[in-house]
Amino acid sequence: MKFTQDHEWLKVEGDLVIVGITEHASEQLGDVVFVELPDAGTEVSQGDEICVIESVKAASDIAAPLDGEIVEINEDLADNPGLVNEDPLGKAWFFKMKLADQSALDGFMDEAAYIEFIG
């Protein structure tokens, strides 16, 4: 699993990458009450704000970690946004994307580096 400085996790599954937010991020957000995801098929560029997470406190954006295409989204989050707090690393994955360049993943932090990053 790889981690971004925006507190997303990325997990390789075949030629796709599954993206979610970390436990640390979900704790910081507080109780999540709404998640808005991009449409499957959307072409995205690194840094595009493609998801919105609303907690009881505020709205936050999630950016595309890399260039690529969204191929699948987690429909369960629309009906059960609380999954983001309950199981951020598992059931609460946000989307799967096909990367334009799979090797671009190498630039992200591994778990040890991420743990150091969040202090």
């Binding site: 507080g30 109780d31 009450v33 709404f34 808005e36 919105v52 609303e54 009881v56 406190k57 505020a58 709205a59 629309a78 946004p81």
Partner: protein, 367 residues
């Protein structure tokens, strides 16, 4: 946060694991480990303890206090019985709201509670019009709210259970006087308790020792009051909104209205009485967004799904844990009735919302 004021319960908040934030010049708990959602639901299910010591506590002594204060608010205070409390608002010459407040008749004085962010201005305003104005700085203010509040407080302070909504009385506890009112800011039955600062922590600990009582932060305080349809000063009401526009006309008794024995005689009376008689062009209403996306403060409201200019904007909005849905307040043209669909623009998309009655969550006051 070192330049912030601390309430007498600051050390207790730290011990309880509160996340502290600056609020109106005070370091205040925004949430405890239970979290905003958990704290909100706990208050509705059992009881929540809130530190509201940042609010201003003011005494106006003497027999003439009610008459003097009536010159600053559109509310009947001369008819406020001893042992009773009433909601009021300071108005300005344009009919706008300078602050909202609670006024209690405690026999030989009025006891007034004002918002933290407004208290310096409120005190100056009071002192410009009333001779004897005493700010109380040596007492904490706590609120205990929820269905288990009565039982938890009665166990410490026998007799409070006989109070009704908006009653005020003094009770003894471990040798000190508690000034208690049966009121609050959550829509639940509950109490607000002014306690001498040196005893505040011991009193709070005694309440928290009851398994039904959890400490509640400002985060849940906001979602609870919004579900209850209650205004937050500086957001839902301010100097640009009149009490009539704010849908607070219920707080203005007949005797202060046109034709009443003490009609007018408060700042902005001309504007406010005219709006009471002829209506205001806009009104604070409740909104229930149809989807799950919250419509927060500042979201612009449109009459149609496309085109047109905004017809108003959201003044408070968020997610209601008890109603399990988003909710908001907005100022909209008065001719739009409950049930009308309007559109809030959220991140560039217009989403439908229905004009809905408030409170969003039924209140449980013990009348």
């Amino acid at each position: 946060m070192s330049d912030l004021h601390k309430t007498p319960l600051y050390d207790l908040h730290m011990e309880l694991g509160a996340k502290m934030v600056p609020f109106a010049g005070y370091a205040m708990p925004v949430q405890y480990p239970l979290g905003v959602m958990g704290e909100h639901l706990h208050t509705r299910a059992q009881a929540g303890l809130f530190d509201v010591s940042h609010m201003g506590q003011v005494i106006l002594p003497g027999a003439g206090a009610a008459e003097a204060l009536e010159a600053l608010v559109p509310v009947s205070l001369m008819a406020l019985a001893e042992g009773r409390q009433r909601y009021a608002m300071f108005t300005n010459d344009a009919g706008g709201i300078l602050d909202d407040l609670m006024v209690a008749n405690r026999g030989d004085h009025l006891f007034v509670v004002v918002n933290a962010a407004c208290k310096t201005a409120d005190l100056a305003h009071l002192r410009a019009h009333i001779e004897d104005v005493q700010e109380i700085t040596d007492r904490a203010l706590l609120a205990l709210q929820g269905p288990a509040a009565e039982g938890a407080l009665e166990a410490l302070v026998p007799g409070v259970g006989a109070m009704r909504f908006m009653d005020v009385a003094t009770f003894g506890w471990q040798g000190v006087d508690l000034w208690i009112s049966r009121s609050g800011y959550t829509g639940e039955d509950g109490f607000e308790i002014s306690v001498p600062a040196p005893q505040a922590e011991a009193f709070a600990r005694a309440l928290l020792a009851d398994a039904a009582v959890e400490p509640i932060g400002l985060g849940a305080r906001d979602s609870l009051r919004l579900e209850a349809g209650l205004c937050l000063y500086g957001h839902d009401i301010d100097t640009t909104t009149t009490p009539v526009e704010a849908n607070l006309a219920w707080a203005i008794q007949k005797i202060r209205r046109t034709g009443g024995a003490r009609a007018g005689g408060f700042p902005g009376a001309e504007v406010i009485l005219a709006q009471l008689d002829g209506g205001a062009a806009r009104k604070r209403v409740g909104l229930r967004p149809e989807g799950r996306a919250p419509m927060r403060e500042g979201v612009q409201i449109f009459a149609d799904a496309e085109g047109g200019a905004p017809i108003g904007s959201v003044t408070s909005g968020g997610f209601g844990p008890s109603i399990a849905a988003p909710m908001a307040m907005a100022y909209l043209p008065s001719d739009l009735t409950e049930g009308t669909i309007v559109y809030g623009e959220v991140r560039g998309k217009r989403l439908p919302a229905i004009i809905a009655p408030m409170p969003f969550q039924p209140t449980t006051y013990k009348r």
